[in-house]
């Protein structure tokens, strides 16, 4: 397979709007030896992309699974892999192995477990894991209750210049809860934790970040009070960033319906007021990036009573289509959406990509923003179809994914 390609006829979506002074224009894009190039390229194999939009490949921060089919179907060309693997990514050998697992279709960037076995007790070998290719440190699916350990993790990571990715839910307040406390959880008879379990955790971690100087990134922030804290911390100049998945932007707790386990997420779906606050936080830039939270689970983990089902959703294959709703609803422009999905994650975690400029990797997604389709969990590309959006009609279909100049999905 060649790593040279000339893509003609597409409308370019440049996240930085710097290409010839405008964010969207029609031009050819050439990739030579896997890298975007200038000059004359009429010798290259041609991909005619007339009528399609072209943007840098999506960079997904915090996937739980190396699921290449789902990722390429969603336009993802690089993904940061959560340490919650079996076994957890808590040593250099495992990190090194994970780093090569997706090539050549998707580049997997492993995230190091902050504590040994993700148990929240002992500092893991962060330095050795960084040398082996870890791009960040994470507490995994859990919040670390021990503030002393958390401060040491942040100090150590700061010295290594590794961002610390956090899960923001106070563990004791959450307990065995499976939903957000409120009328929906009450009527369904599901144990609910107050939404402030999130802001309480964020408040502590912001103070630890201030003390340690670490760059902290909350993988998902989902509540109005959480956004307020992050907004204020950013204004104070703290190195804090955050992400969100389409689920918390488009669904509220009422989506649980009659105990639909595909809507069991971590953190759980929130109130409609919190959902609207999340939309505002995207609009005003409090939210830095949108991620898939990809966590595929088959029926054996989901066809259970709600409280026994595993939390998590398959999100990679639908990431672009669902995020395009934000453009149609006028929340963000298309170039801004590509910042949220590609260039900002690249910048924050020091990854190549997220750009259409000469010299950038030839990692591209070509999509038809208007093509209608219906999300169907039964045929969703990837390991499992546990999407809370099952049955939803969406617009925007990925037509081609190019990784390093090679077409890896069509």
């Amino acid at each position: 397979m060649s790593s040279d390609l000339l893509i003609t006829g597409a409308t370019l979506i440049d996240p930085h709007g710097a290409l010839q002074g405008q964010a969207q224009n029609q031009a050819d894009i050439a990739i030579r030896h896997g890298v975007i190039a200038h000059g004359d390229h009429h010798d290259l194999p041609v991909l005619n992309a007339k009528g399609l939009m072209l943007a840098p490949g999506l960079i997904d921060i915090g996937s739980f699974s190396i699921d290449l089919k789902a990722m390429t179907a969603g336009g993802i060309t690089a993904a940061a892999l959560m340490p919650d693997q079996s076994p957890p990514l808590d040593n250099a050998a495992l990190v090194q192995h994970a780093a090569t697992a997706g090539k050549p279709a998707v580049w997997i960037h492993p995230i190091a477990a902050a504590s040994t076995g993700l148990a929240g007790q002992d500092l893991a070998e962060l330095g050795l894991m960084k040398e082996a290719g870890a791009i960040a440190v994470a507490t995994g699916r859990q919040w670390i209750a021990d503030s002393g350990l958390m401060l040491r993790i942040m100090r150590y990571a700061a010295a290594l210049d590794l961002p610390v990715i956090l899960h923001a839910e106070d563990a004791a307040l959450v307990g065995g809860a499976v939903a957000t406390a409120g009328p929906v959880a009450t009527w369904l008879g599901l144990s609910g934790a107050p939404a402030m379990a999130e802001s309480l955790a964020i408040a502590r971690d912001l103070m630890l970040a201030e003390e340690s100087g670490a760059h902290i990134h909350f993988r998902q922030v989902t509540t109005a009070r959480g956004f307020d804290l992050i907004r204020a911390a950013k204004q104070r100049g703290l190195r804090v960033t955050c992400g969100i998945t389409p689920a918390h932007l488009l669904l509220s707790e009422s989506a649980i319906g009659a105990f639909l386990t595909f809507t069991r997420l971590s953190p759980p779906l929130r109130s409609e007021a919190d959902r609207l606050a999340a939309i505002e936080a995207v609009r005003d830039g409090t939210i830095d990036l949108i991620c898939s939270g990809h966590d595929p689970h088959g029926p054996e983990a989901k066809r259970l009573p709600f409280a026994e089902a595993q939390p998590g959703m398959a999100g990679a294959a639908t990431l672009l289509a669902l995020s395009l709703n934000l453009v149609r609803d006028g929340v963000v422009t298309l170039p801004r959406l590509m910042q949220l999905l590609s260039s900002t994650p690249a910048k924050l975690f020091g990854l190549a990509g997220g750009s259409l400029h000469a010299g950038a990797p030839g990692d591209l997604v070509l999509f038809d923003p208007d093509a209608p389709w219906q999300i169907d969990g039964d045929i969703l590309p990837g390991k499992a179809g546990n999407t809370p959006f099952d049955g939803l009609p969406v617009q925007g279909k990925v037509r081609h994914v190019v990784k390093g100049g090679r077409i890896v999905h069509s």
Binding site: A185, L188, G189, P194, R303, L304, F306
Partner: protein, 333 residues
């Protein structure tokens, strides 16, 4: 009877009949039922109260049908009540008590549902410790499913038997003030009763320690009281709930002694309710904790044994109505 309890007219202009009176395949909860559907089941139950008090106590309309009582959570009285109800109607009743262990998990549940279905049950009665589990099974089987309690979600036949008890004792439900007291948070009985009684026009209040009152009730116009005396003052019905210590992990109440002191129903407190206030309890009671024995055993005030009696009648009504389609009863196909 208020207008909300009157069924809409049939398209022909006449009264509804047959399946249109109760169009549900399963009985999974009070939620989703209209006031007139609740009314219909209560009316149906009356004939079984009479039969149960007669000498013969038998009807054979469910003859040849197999009723499986699948109980995934321990139960004595509800299981017995469903068994008696089925047998009095002539069904072949099979009880399946699945001992619970922490390793007993969900795929077993779906497998169990498929197994029961393959055995061609005509009616499955399920109790399960997880909210939503009965729905999960109902989605997988062909026959009607009756919820005998799922987690802290719903226990519809308990609410129906409570409503029937109140209606018979008080002559009405509409306009009554009902105080539901105690461990509301963990109680499926409370949830089903709130839905049922408010649908029937009663004013429901919740009374209990702040740690055992669920969130979000006020959004439905249900008032909550943390002071017992305030909460039951002026109540026509005082419904006590069992303190579900088995569902509590870590400090919901300081001690049983303190709970009894602050939230136990005794003679003095009952005097704050209406003079002829009815005392109810779904059982089994923690005597000396949520209720003193002298009140529980006072036939003038307590309807507790009557609740048990109404339970059999209501369950017979539900078994009858849910199987009418299978039995080819005219208008119920």
């Amino acid at each position: 009877m208020t207008s909300t309890q009157t069924p809409p007219s049939a398209p022909s202009g006449g009264a509804l009949s047959g399946r249109a009176l109760f169009p549900h395949k399963h009985l999974l909860g009070i939620g989703g039922m209209t006031p007139w559907q609740i009314q219909f089941l209560l009316d149906e139950a009356e004939q079984w109260v009479d039969l149960n008090r007669s000498a013969s106590k038998h009807d054979d309309r469910l003859m040849g049908l197999t009723q499986i009582n699948a109980f995934f959570e321990n139960s004595t009285r509800t299981l017995l009540s469903f068994e008696i109800a089925g047998k009095r109607l002539g069904a072949d009743v099979v009880n399946m008590q699945v001992a619970q262990s922490s390793t007993k998990k969900g795929e077993t549940l779906i497998d169990t549902a498929v197994t029961l279905n393959a055995m061609r049950a005509d009616l499955i009665v399920i109790r399960h410790q997880h909210s939503g589990a009965v729905q999960l099974i109902a989605d997988k089987v062909d026959c009607p499913v009756l919820n005998a309690g799922d987690g802290r979600h719903e226990h519809p036949t308990q609410a129906l038997l409570d409503a029937l008890t109140i209606r018979r004792r008080k002559g009405r439900i509409d306009g009554l003030r009902v105080a539901i007291c105690g461990d509301v948070l963990h109680s499926r009985v409370a949830r089903s009763n709130i839905l049922c009684l408010t649908a029937m026009g009663a004013e429901v209040r919740l009374v209990g320690p702040p740690t055992l009152l669920p969130e979000g009730m006020e959004q439905l116009g249900i008032q909550s009281f943390t002071q017992f005396d305030k909460g039951i003052s002026g109540a026509h019905v005082v419904m006590m709930l069992r303190l579900q210590t088995e569902r509590m992990e870590g400090g919901f109440i300081p001690s049983l002694k303190e709970y009894h002191a602050l939230y136990g129903l005794n003679r003095e407190r009952l005097a704050l309710a209406e003079a002829d206030a009815l005392v109810m309890h779904p059982g089994p009671m923690n005597r000396g904790v949520e209720i003193t024995s002298d009140i529980a055993d006072d036939p003038e005030r307590s309807a507790i044994t009557e609740q048990v009696e109404m339970g059999v009648a209501v369950r017979m009504a539900c078994l009858d109505v849910l199987t009418r389609g299978r039995r080819g009863v005219e208008g119920w196909a």
